[in-house]
């Protein structure tokens, strides 16, 4: 029993920490902090890049969609003007025919 007590006392005896322990702990802490800061920046940059890519794709898609709709509208304008031109030509022909008939 005494022997066990002795061993325990010996084991629980206050011992001064090695002089390098504080430096090691502080070093490790700063390395972890730096790694964390780097990670945060990486995440921010990645998020910004994704946002820029999504916004760019949106702008491009919108531009292409407007271009497509504009082309469709342009073709419809041509069709409308062709019909208008046809109607005006027909009117001119009718007027010319009437004029000829009146002269005769």
């Amino acid at each position: 029993m005494d022997e066990l007590e002795c061993e325990l006392r010996e084991a629980l005896k206050r011992q001064p920490a090695p002089s390098s322990l504080k430096r090691k702990v502080m070093n490790r802490r700063s390395v972890t902090q730096r790694r964390h800061v780097r990670m945060v920046w990486f995440e921010r940059i990645a998020a910004a890049l994704i946002l820029v890519a999504v916004a760019g794709a949106g702008v491009l898609w919108r531009h292409q969609d407007e271009q497509r709709r504009g082309e469709e509208a342009k073709q419809q304008v041509f069709t409308a003007l062709r019909i208008t031109g046809h109607a005006l030509n027909h009117m001119n022909q009718q007027l010319a025919a009437h004029r000829r008939a009146a002269q005769e």
Binding site: V77, I83, T84, A87, L88, H90, M91, Q94
Partner: protein, 195 residues
């Protein structure tokens, strides 16, 4: 905060109402048009609001090599809308004169002044041209052209004149298109810019 949201919603509603008011200048198709479309072998329908015309102007080539498109760009600039219908028929007398009269009355309102009224009793052909005058200036043109096998309705809203439309004669590619537009009954085309 609630007030701001209410103001935003109100603002959006006002803008939406203004936008729809802009489009509402274009007429609602008359019931006769449906009857004509049902009998026609080929139908061309074009409805372009101010926004669609602006979109079309944006893609037009107005540089030196696109003279025709530049002329059209100039023609449609400032227009409020274009409403055009073309009905082609396989045979003559597929529509009645009553239908044409109904169509004429549908568009003939007090704000339109007749400019040309042409009738050929032998062939049944007729052309009506009316202009909408606001403070002595032309703010629209309506053409109803009736041929034995074709009925054309043209409604152009906005500042347009016969001189402007006279430039259409010089646009070669419109003439080229006219040779290709006739399609069979199965290929009846319907074009509507606002759909």
């Amino acid at each position: 905060m609630t007030n701001r949201i209410m103001a935003f919603v109100l603002g959006a509603a006002v803008l939406a109402a203004a936008a729809s008011a802009q489009d509402s200048q274009l007429p609602v198709p008359s019931p006769v048009e449906k009857q004509l479309a049902a009998c026609a072998s080929n139908v061309d329908e074009v409805t372009l609001s101010k926004n669609m015309l602006a979109l079309a102007s944006e893609v037009m080539n107005t540089n030196g090599d696109g003279k025709d498109e530049a002329a059209i760009h100039h023609l449609i600039e400032g227009l409020d809308g274009i409403y055009v219908r073309e009905y082609d028929f396989d045979k003559e007398a597929q529509y009645s004169m009553e239908e044409i009269e109904q169509l004429r009355k549908y568009y003939e309102t007090s704000e339109w002044s007749p400019v040309v009224r042409e009738r050929d009793r032998k062939t049944g052909e007729s052309t009506d041209i009316m202009v909408k005058l606001v403070n002595g200036k032309s703010r629209g043109m309506f053409i109803l052209d009736v041929e034995p096998r074709e009925v054309d309705i043209v409604l152009i809203l906005g500042p347009v004149s016969m001189e402007d439309l006279g430039t259409l004669k010089g646009l070669a590619f419109l003439g080229m298109m006219s040779g290709t537009h006739h399609t069979g009954p199965d290929n009846a085309r319907k074009k509507d810019g606002d759909q």
